[in-house]
């Protein structure tokens, strides 16, 4: 029988499609466009211990097939989120993924402790070891396998909630970082966050982004994400959530063949808010026409 249900470890999702952190806020805005309960889940805006106003000035630069952002983790802080947005996310009747970021080991541990106190409302914690737009923590920490293993094992002691580690592609060997996350006790890895990039205004000879650099996302980065999912799929025992440039149901299927158990969509929603509806409908049609269970596609890639 055909189905689009998937599992990421023990987390059952009604679809492989998850809205990526930082491209759906906490769900309020996109709920004005469609019923989010069709989704596998929604990953919250990246949260930090204290509220952050993010970076100043221009935060977006367009490219031929994508965009750079330098938002810098603007968020209301984890306490405000717990008091004001978590129940709303739970009410959406979809997987509740809470994305947590920090500047230091202490920050990450404190975030996990705070969120673990509300574990009945959360399906998984997505740990952001990969934001390229803040000065400390995140990508700096997430590029070093030794620190990744340490921080994940420390968080592991604080919670039974599934820990999904969102990794940065800005490394030489993604497998080493993904394996470090696994050894630390991660339940899954999310591949990939944005690539570090720069766009220059040739009239002013200054970067378009006032942060100078930003995180590159969109269809342009999909082949890199697919390659990293495929590489990690061969060496990991834990599941992978694919992310990077998803614009169609074919992209979702490509990620799953590469080895993803679920797939996040980010920049696609920014361009077309209802794109996840079309992709979901297309996935249902695809599984029906081919009489397949979508989750059977995971890791079916055969290399030459």
């Amino acid at each position: 029988m055909s189905s689009i249900n998937v599992k990421v470890g023990n987390v059952e999702l009604k679809s492989p499609l998850i809205l990526a952190s930082g491209t759906c806020n906490f769900g309020h805005e996109l709920s004005e466009y469609y019923d989010l309960s069709i989704l596998g889940g929604l990953s919250s805006k990246g949260l930090t211990i204290k509220p952050r106003q993010g970076n100043e000035g221009c935060r977006v630069a367009e490219t031929a097939s994508g965009m750079l952002n330098s938002v810098g983790l603007q968020n209301p802080g984890v306490d405000y989120f717990i008091d004001n947005d978590l129940d709303y996310m739970r009410s959406l009747n979809t997987g509740v993924i809470v994305n947590a970021a920090g500047h230091s080991f202490e920050d990450y541990i404190a975030m996990v402790q705070k969120l673990n106190a509300h574990k009945d409302k959360i399906d998984a914690l997505e740990i952001n070891l990969s934001c390229p737009n803040v000065k400390a923590g995140c990508m700096t920490l997430g590029a070093d396998p030794v620190q990744v293993k340490q921080i994940v094992s420390l968080m592991r002691k604080e919670t039974d909630l599934p820990l999904w580690i969102k990794l940065t592609p800005n490394v030489t060997d993604i497998k080493a970082v993904a394996l470090a996350a696994q050894e630390g006790g991660a339940d899954a890895v999310v591949l990939i966050n944005t690539l570090l990039g720069m766009v220059i205004n040739i009239k002013t000879r200054r970067p378009v982004l006032h942060n100078n650099t930003g995180g590159y996302s969109g269809p342009a980065i999909k082949p890199i994400a697919i390659r990293m999912v495929a590489e990690c799929s061969k060496v990991l025992d834990i599941p992978i959530i694919g992310c990077g440039g998803v614009m169609s149901y074919e992209d979702v299927i490509e990620f799953m063949i590469a080895g993803a158990s679920a797939v996040e969509i980010g920049t696609g929603s920014l361009i077309h808010p209802t794109l996840p509806v079309k992709i979901t409908n297309d996935l249902v049609r695809y599984t029906e026409e081919n009489n397949i269970d979508l989750k059977d596609l995971t890791g079916t890639l055969e290399l030459w």
């Binding site: 759906c24 805005e29 106003q53 993010g54 935060r59 977006v60 938002v71 920014l270 808010p273």
Partner: protein
Amino acid sequence: MKKEFTCKVVSKKMLNPDTAYLTIKCPDIANEAVPGQFVNISCSLFLKRPFGIASVDKANGTFDIGVKVVGKGTVEIAAFEEGKEIEVLGPLGNGFTFDPSKNYILVAGGTGVFPINFASQHLREKGIPFKVVEGFRNASQVVLNEPDYVLCTDAGDIGIKGTCIAGLDTLDDEFVKNSVLCCVGPLPMMKACGNWATSKEIPSFVSMEQRMGCGIGICLVCVCKLKAEANGEEFKHVRCCKEGPVFPFEEVIF
């Protein structure tokens, strides 16, 4: 539920060599839109482009936008012809609100004339008294000007020589004192007009602009700075596309 629309351009004219005026068929947007709101229009580039709504025709189910050519996206959109099919999101953001017991002073600079044109259309229909002050660089840039508007140009080759402030100073004090000022234009101009309103002890509203991503409040790139409420912070970043683009002048940090 809000929708993503596929619409047709039903007419197009050039207001000057680098400014197009498009009429687009979309009854939903024509019915819902209020002055100060904007739409996001697709082109072949990656991101949609935001345009302030310049006018609506509810009877015909159309709305208008003005497109000043400033970059690759606007070059393409300004070249759209009648019959062109486009993707449109809107109406987006929070526009101006109008109190029927007040007078309105509408101030437009550059492409700010388009949303201000919609505001004047609305006030005319509601019978609310208003004056329009327009500012442009020179005569060749003047668009959507009416005989009863106060026209100012930096070059002075038409209208009053000077900024919109010179135009505002010509307004009758009796009209001004019961007025609310609404301003759309470049940041320095909005700041000057807001300060002028404050000096006259009247409220004012400005329409903030920043490079935009999604237009619907989910990417958080198009923020502007507002004065923070009493929580120890110096400022707060709010989304131009969602909380704005229209804000009370006294809340904005320029």
